[in-house]
Point group: C2
C-alpha cells in the first residue's frame, strides 16, 4: 500500500478519462493505494466532476463507495503549460506525499513542463515524472526532449510510457523465452525461419485525425509498440530477468536493427477525415522487413505489418520455425511449426505442430495447441495502465523505455525509405501492391488476410 | 478395394467377437473390402450366427444391409488345431482369393497351426498369416515360434500384431518427432530429463484370470505395448518414415535397452479371482526404470508404470524436459516443460510451458497448451484393428513387429529382477512401497495418482 499525489497534465484529454483515472481507481480497489490525491491540470476551465463522470464507465463495475473516494480526492487546476505563475499556484496544492507527474500531453510540451516542474521545485528528487507517448516525432526531437529532461531530472525519476509493455502477454515474452526448455534452445537463426509482428486495426483515425496526420502509422505505433515487441522477441538473454538488464538488452538489439524494405499505404477516404490535410501523404499502413545484424539473427528476416482500416484488430507475434529435413516417403510437411503469441484480443499463445492425419499412415496435417489466458485465469487480469501506474508507485522502471532505447527506435524509423504511398480499400488486407512486395521479400503473413 | 478370405483360428474367443469381426465390418463399410469371406475355426461346435450376433454390438451403428453381407459371407468350420485331417477339410472351403490366416489363439498353438497351414498348402506364398499377442511367454518360447514359422513362411507373410501400433496417437509419435522443428532438435539427453510411459488400468483381471496368472503385467502389456512405445519414442531417425526403416530402428534401440530397477506388486484379492492360483506370485503391477545405452540417451532414465486395479485407465507418454538455467531475480520456475502424448483415453497431446502469472511481474506458473484429436477430427477415426487388418490386406508390415524386435523385447523382460511382490489396494496408485522406490530412482510420476 502506497500513498501518492497524481498530477495529470492534459487532464481534459481522452487518455485521462479512458485510462489514467480508471487505472487509479483499480489501484484503490485492489488496495495498492491508500492515501491519494488526483490533481487534474489543463489550460481550459473544466470541472473535475465532469471528467470523472465521463471516466466512470471506463473504470467498469465501479463500487459506489470506492468511487466516492476518487471523487472526494480529486481536484482540477487551470494551468497553462507556458505560464510560470500557474506552476506556483499548483505548488500550493501539493503536500508531502510522493508526487507522480503524468504528462499526458503532446510531446512538444514535455520540455517546458519539465523545466518548470524542476524550476519551481514541484518535482523533488523522490518524485516521478511520467511521459506519455509519442516521445517526440523523430530522433532529433526525441534527443532534444531527452537532453532537456536529463538536465532537470535523474533517469531514475523518468518514466517513458509504452503502454504495450504493461500488457500481460508482452510481459510474458521474456519470461517464456528464457524459462522454457522447449523454446530457449530453438530461439535463433539455426531453427527460426522468420518472425512476423502483426499489429492491425479495423478502426479509422476517428477523432485523432489532426494528431495522426502529423505522425502516421510508423511513428504512431511502429516506433514504439512494434519495435518494443521486436526488441523483446529478439534480444539476447539478460543476466537476470529484471528491469535494467532487460532494458540494456533491448537497447543493444535495437542498435543492430535496420529496415531493409518497406511498403506504405493510405486508406481510401483518409484525406477527407476530420483534421487531415487534403493532400496528405501520411501513411496509415506499413509493411516492413527488418534485419538484425548479430550472430543470433543473421539471415532471419523480421517483418512488421501495421495499419488502420484493415480487416481486423489484432496484435500477434508469429515465430515461424524452419522445416525439419523431410523424412517422409510419401508426403512432406506442408507447413513449418509456428509459435504465436497473441497480445490482443484473446490473449494467449499457440503452437502449430505437424501431426498425423487420422486414418492415413504418412499424411501430415498441421494441428494447433492453444493456451487462452482468459480461459485459464478469468477475465480479471490487470489492464496495462494499472500495471504501469503501480510500477511508477513502486519505482520499478523495468517496463518503461530507457533514453537509449527510444533513440535507437527513432533512428530505425527515421531511416525508413517509404517510397510511393499505395492506396487501399477500407476493411481489406492492405494495398494490392502488397502481394508482390510479400513475394519479393519472402513473407507469407500468418492469418492476416482472414 | 481388395478381395480376401479371412480364416480365423480361435473363432469362439473374445477377440474374434470384439475386435476381428467388427474390424472386417468396418473395412466393408469403408469400401476397403469388396469380395470377401470369413471362415471361423475352433475345436468346439459353434454356430457362426451366434458368434456374429454377439459381435454385432461391438461393430457399433451397423447398417443392416452391410451387416447382412457379413452374415451371408461367413461360415464356421470345426477344427482341432492338432488334427491334420481337419486342415484338409478346411482346404476344401478355400477359393482363389487372397487368404489371411488370423491366429487368435494362445501362442502354444502357433507352431502347430503354422506347420499344418504350410504342409497342406493352405497358406500360399502370397497369403498372409497374422499372429495375435502374446507372442510366446519368454525369449526362449518366442525364438522357438520364430524359428518354426520362419521355416514354413517368409518374414514378408508374417504379421505379428501389437494392436497398440494401430492406434492413431502411436502412429503419430514418429511423425511428430521427426517432422517438427520444435521437437526434433530437443529430443535427446541434452534437453530431456526423463521419459515416463504410463499404462494403467482400473479394471481387475475379470474373466482373463486363467490366462493372466500365467503371464502377469510384464508379459501381458510391458513386453509388447510399453516397450513398443518406448522404442518409438527413443529410436534414432530412420532413413525414411516407412515400415522397414522404422522396424530396424526400433530393434536397434531395444537391443540397447535394459531394466535397471523394478518394483512389482499384486492387488489385494487377486488370488481369489477366478482362474488364479491360490498362492499366485504373478505381478499385476510394475514400475520399471530403464536405461538406453547410446549417445542420444546416456544419462536419461526411462520409466514404465503399468498395472491393473489402479486409479484410472490411461496410456500416456510424458517427456519431461530439463529446466532452463534460472534467470529470474525473484522466483524460479517450479516445473520443467512436459510434452505429453495421450494414447488413450482422450487421444491428443499437450505441452506444459512456464508462463507469467497474470498481474505479477516475475512469478511463473505452468500453463497447458492442448490438442485433442476428437475435438478437431471428430470421433470417427479408425480403430486399431481396422487399421491393422487393412495393412495386412495391403501387405504393409510397418506397424507389425519384426522377429528381431520381439526377441529383443523378451530379452529385456526376461532379465528383470522382480524382487519382492508388494501388495496394494484396488483403486490406488500402487503399492505403498512405490513412494520410496520413486524417490530412490528419481521419478515423479506425472498425473498418475490423481
Amino acid at each position: 500500500m502506497k500513498d501518492a499525489t497524481f498530477i495529470i497534465f492534459g487532464a481534459t484529454g481522452d487518455l485521462t478519462r479512458r485510462k489514467i483515472i480508471p487505472a487509479i481507481y483499480k489501484l484503490v480497489k485492489n488496495k495498492k493505494l491508500r492515501s491519494f490525491r488526483i490533481i487534474g491540470c489543463a489550460r481550459s476551465k473544466k470541472n473535475i466532476q465532469t471528467i470523472l463522470s465521463q471516466s466512470k464507465k471506463f473504470a467498469r463495475d465501479v463500487q459506489a463507495s470506492r468511487w466516492r473516494k476518487i471523487v472526494k480526492n480529486s481536484v482540477y487546476q487551470v494551468l497553462d503549460f507556458y505560464k510560470e505563475e500557474d506552476y506556483t499556484q499548483l505548488a500550493v496544492l501539493l503536500g508531502k506525499q510522493q508526487r507522480i507527474f503524468y504528462l499526458a500531453t503532446a510531446p512538444e510540451h514535455f520540455h517546458i513542463i519539465s523545466k518548470y516542474l524542476a524550476k519551481y521545485k514541484l518535482a523533488r528528487k523522490t518524485d516521478n515524472v511520467v511521459y506519455e507517448k509519442p516521445f517526440g516525432h523523430d530522433l532529433y526531437s526525441a534527443k532534444k526532449i531527452n537532453k532537456c529532461i536529463s538536465t532537470v531530472f535523474n533517469e531514475k525519476q523518468i518514466y517513458r510510457i509504452d503502454h504495450y509493455l504493461g500488457k500481460e502477454l508482452v510481459g510474458d515474452i521474456t519470461l517464456m523465452r528464457f524459462t522454457n526448455r522447449i523454446l530457449e534452445p530453438l530461439w535463433n537463426s539455426k531453427h527460426i525461419a522468420q518472425i512476423q509482428i502483426v499489429m492491425t486495426e479495423d478502426l479509422l483515425v476517428g477523432k485523432r485525425g489532426g494528431f495522426y496526420d502529423k505522425y502516421g502509422v510508423l511513428k504512431d505505433v511502429v516506433q514504439n509498440h512494434a519495435l518494443q515487441l521486436l526488441a523483446l522477441t529478439a534480444m539476447e538473454a539478460p543476466k537476470m530477468l529484471s528491469g535494467e538488464y532487460i532494458r540494456s538488452e533491448k537497447a543493444r538489439v535495437l542498435k543492430r536493427t535496420q529496415v531493409t524494405a518497406a511498403l506504405v499505404g493510405q486508406y481510401h477516404g483518409y484525406k477527407s477525415e476530420p483534421g487531415v490535410t487534403k493532400n496528405s501523404t501520411t501513411e496509415t499502413f506499413a509493411a516492413l522487413q527488418l534485419k538484425i545484424n548479430n550472430s543470433r539473427w543473421r539471415g532471419v528476416p523480421f517483418y512488421i505489418l501495421a495499419g488502420k482500416a484493415l480487416v481486423k484488430k489484432q496484435t500477434s507475434i508469429h515465430i515461424k520455425f524452419k522445416e525439419v529435413h523431410c523424412l517422409l516417403a510419401k508426403s512432406c510437411p506442408s507447413d513449418s511449426n509456428y509459435f504465436t503469441i497473441r497480445i490482443q484480443p484473446d490473449n494467449g499463445f499457440s503452437l502449430e505442430l505437424n501431426s498425423k492425419m487420422p486414418g492415413k499412415k504418412q499424411a501430415i496435417i498441421p494441428v494447433n495447441m492453444d493456451f487462452c489466458e482468459k480461459c485459464r485465469f478469468g477475465p480479471n487480469t490487470p489492464e496495462a495502465y494499472e500495471t504501469l501506474l503501480e510500477d511508477v508507485l513502486c519505482g520499478d522502471q523495468s517496463v518503461f523505455v530507457r533514453k537509449d532505447e527510444i533513440e535507437y527506435a527513432w533512428k530505425i524509423i527515421d531511416r525508413v525509405r517509404k517510397g510511393k504511398i499505395y492506396s487501399y480499400k477500407k476493411g481489406t488486407g492492405g494495398p494490392p501492391a502488397l502481394d508482390a512486395w510479400n513475394k519479393k521479400n519472402g513473407v507469407l503473413w500468418k492469418e492476416v488476410s482472414k
